[in-house]
Symmetry: C2
Subunit: 504 residues, 2 copies
């Protein structure tokens, strides 16, 4: 293995795209794909020491976190393996021929989901494993049957190289066709790949500015493609009177733990805390945050962006700094370590400067707002842009008026987010079937999709219907005998007779 | 009812958007929404005579077709009513809390689908009922719980007005909240609505140029939204040697019937016929097409576009005109009636001028290509853009080499389309659960979706997950007792223990 990854040339990219476009990976059975993913999971775990050793200096993340992330990456791969073995994601529907169909004879129609085609994955910087080379995007795309080209994140090149070589070796050992996986390097080459006809979909996790630029490129193609971008998320937390009264210490500690976790470098970091006016919560939180040690950021660029963003927020009239994040270079990496930043602003100022204040700050920084009334709280929630999460802390035995307020607050919060968290914290995203890690723009560029959990596979499939196909020409998933035993919905003739005549 | 629809003003639009954004339609139970849709279906059918009387002069379509289309429109509404009553579209998944989850304790997570928000529907011109004011887009959006604003198609204003007033009256009678439905008129006002923050998704059926312009606007918004456009489709038909030998008369008659049906004004009109070299099929087809009477087109603009497009195709070197579509004004409408246009070109020229020749011609026009070899046929299929359908006619007892050719042809064709039709014709799209009326660009701007059939509702929903929600704050669909009896997947604790350990 080479120690560094050189910029991919146009010629190299062209060859990789041709190989991806002609890879027969999508025609491998789900069993073969699943076995390959599980083998890859095993191989990644077997190389944990090396992977962690590569990532430690490149990211500054703690060893325990990195080890856990390798495990998560492996678990994601096995989860998608299980998902495709089950076959429910294929969404097989069979309509029987129906000479008596209400709109005239119905043919034999069989629909299922096929791989969308070669997927371009833009690796994220904040999860060097779980959202990077072999992360959730790559795992779900490979599971779906799509060849993958990963554009490496510049923040952890050696980690990326090592991961890519494990992926490539494992795929080869498992007999995956050439062209099923490749990694490229370079901003311009990533853009070139995104514009190429042979790429059928793209996935991205990162900043609003970077993600939006790529989304625009995907949309401006002669043949636009789906661009699954996870951009920026405010993740507001609402504390009700009941909760603030009942467990102020727990809330203060939980909030500080959540917004400073991993130096706040999570897409689900809570960036805005809405608390009732007149509690002592702000002081408790400031005190606790003051005790949090400074922690190295991912890259000098992260530090620079955080500095600029803090100055921007700080420059708004009425914003009060409770805790100015200390900054210091602690090690040879030269990357600054920072302490928590806490700021406070009034609800009126927040609303007046919503464009600036209701946006994500990447890093251990949060804004606290005391809401003077429920009405003002609703007003703030109404002004929110799309966000991955909204968190609500409630008292354990709300009064009738509190219940009424909650039943107004919850749908309002739901209208802005992909996940509603109650009495907990948004960081720590469960990798599990019911998860939804998504939300309206700018949380994502594709509100109907999640990038975490089994449903993430849906980003990389598309439906096709076979009409009156001779038995010998049906894909195995649609064959009458159903040799793979995939779940399917069969609509018999006569189906339309009852339409509109039921109990409504 | 007013006889004409005046252009919607900015002020009117603003009021309609505000009303749509604050409509509580999405919070009505699925039972209430279903009952409303079925009532609307009944009301439309009850007004069939009036509706058809309005559409006859405006569209020039035959009365039987228009009557059938009102029925189809009503059936679509009842089909979506059945779909939401069933509740499977809600895709409810419940993950139980799992202290032993492989990546650390899993919370209680419950995911389902909610309405995406107010939908802007651009009505189509070629289906004055089924893809217009109360057509499949409106029906599926209302079923999903989304308020709808329809931008009327200028081709049939009185039909649109009449339909809109039936929709509005029925919704009001059924107690739907104000703002649930409205119709607007004007190109500029449609664009303004598409740019408005209060619109959450848009649907369109029409031309590539118009659809692409609107797609670009949706993508360029500060907050981009899903744009479900159905643009242009070539719908190629492949005739194998076996089929050509076995049933030349049936194929010739079927093809002529399909490409001239409704004066070729269907998105599934077969625009390209690929036949083996050396059969007599071309002569048979030309002869039959020559006997097809001239038929009025929808609008003078349709006629003009067809004339321009025919000239463009005709101007390509090597294109031979077999039948030059006659054109004559037959009635007071002033809209030209036309006869079939048939052209022929060699495979090499087709490939050389693919950008022009492999695009849709809207109207009773088709291009015939004799393919000299299977290799050349594959080459043509590889050059295809996305298309709604590909049709393949096969012999009833293919030889081994023919079977081998088909098993290569079918996946290639599948890679380009949303529906593969065997031994039939692409026109006549069954309105049924397994249908997929979609495909890669430019067939649609959203390859993962269909605009016909029950799955069309998926365009207008998005997921949300509730984490550790107190029982009293869960939406009814996610409540433990499941009072609505919606289908759901429940993942018990311990689920992850088996991941990666199964039989692969």
């Amino acid at each position: 293995m080479t120690e560094s990854l050189s910029e991919t040339t146009d010629l190299e990219l062209d060859a990789l795209l041709t190989a991806a476009a002609s890879s027969a990976w999508g025609h491998r059975t789900s069993r073969v794909r699943a076995r390959t993913l599980v083998t890859l999971a095993d191989e990644l775990q077997r190389h944990t020491d090396e992977l962690v050793a590569a990532a430690l200096p490149e990211t500054g993340l703690p060893e325990a976190r990195l080890r856990g992330e390798v495990t998560r990456t492996a678990v994601q791969l096995t989860m998608f393996a299980e998902e495709i073995l089950g076959g429910a994601y294929l969404d097989v529907v069979i309509d029987r021929p129906d000479p008596g169909f209400v709109l005239g004879p119905r043919p034999d129609l069989r629909r299922f989901q096929v791989p969308i085609g070669p997927v371009l994955v833009f690796a994220a910087g904040n999860f060097p494993f779980a959202f990077s080379v072999a992360g959730t995007d790559t795992a779900s795309a490979l599971a779906a049957g799509c060849p993958v080209i990963v554009k490496a994140h510049p923040g952890h090149p050696r980690t990326s190289m090592l991961t890519a070589s494990i992926v490539a070796d494992t795929l080869a050992e498992c007999g995956a066709p050439a062209g099923t996986f490749a990694m490229i390097k370079g901003i311009e080459i990533g853009v070139r790949a995104l514009r190429d006809r042979r790429i059928a979909a793209a996935a991205f996790t990162g900043s609003v500015s970077g993600g939006r630029a790529l989304f625009d490129i995907a949309a401006a193609r002669r043949r636009p493609i789906p661009f699954y971008g996870e951009l920026g998320s405010l993740n507001p937390v609402v504390i009700t009177h009941g909760a603030a009264t009942e467990r102020p210490d727990e809330i203060a500690a939980g909030f500080v733990g959540s917004f400073t976790l991993g130096a706040g470098q999570f897409c689900t970091k809570p960036g805005l805390l809405l608390i009732p006016a007149g509690t002592g919560l702000i002081d408790r939180i400031t005190q606790l945050a003051n005790d949090i040690p400074i922690v190295r950021l991912l890259t000098t660029r992260t530090a620079e962006a955080l500095r600029n963003r803090s100055a921007e927020v700080n420059g708004i009239d009425g914003v009060e700094v409770l805790l100015a994040g200390a900054e210091e270079v602690l090690d040879d990496s030269g990357v600054p370590a920072v302490g928590p930043t806490l700021m406070k602003v009034g609800a009126a100022q927040l609303l007046e400067h919503g464009d600036t204040l209701l946006a994500e700050t990447f890093g251990p920084s949060a804004l606290i707002v005391e809401y003077p009334s429920e009405a003002k709280l609703y007003e703030v929630l109404s002004e929110l842009d799309g966000t991955l999460t909204v968190t609500v802390h409630t008292g354990s035995s709300p009064s009738e008026s509190e219940r009424a307020a909650l039943s107004r607050l919850v749908p309002l919060a739901a209208s802005r987010c992909g996940r509603l968290v109650f009495n907990g914290w948004p960081t720590g995203v469960a990798v599990t079937p019911a998860q939804n890690h998504g939300g309206p723009y700018p949380a994502t560029t594709a509100v109907a999709h999640t990038s975490v959990g089994t449903a993430a596979i849906r980003r990389f499939i598309r439906p096709i219907a076979f009409q009156d196909a001779p038995a010998g020409l049906l894909p195995v998933e649609l064959q009458e005998a159903n040799p793979l035993g995939v779940p399917r919905t069969v609509n018999e003739a006569g189906q339309s007779a009852g339409w509109g005549r039921g109990q409504y």
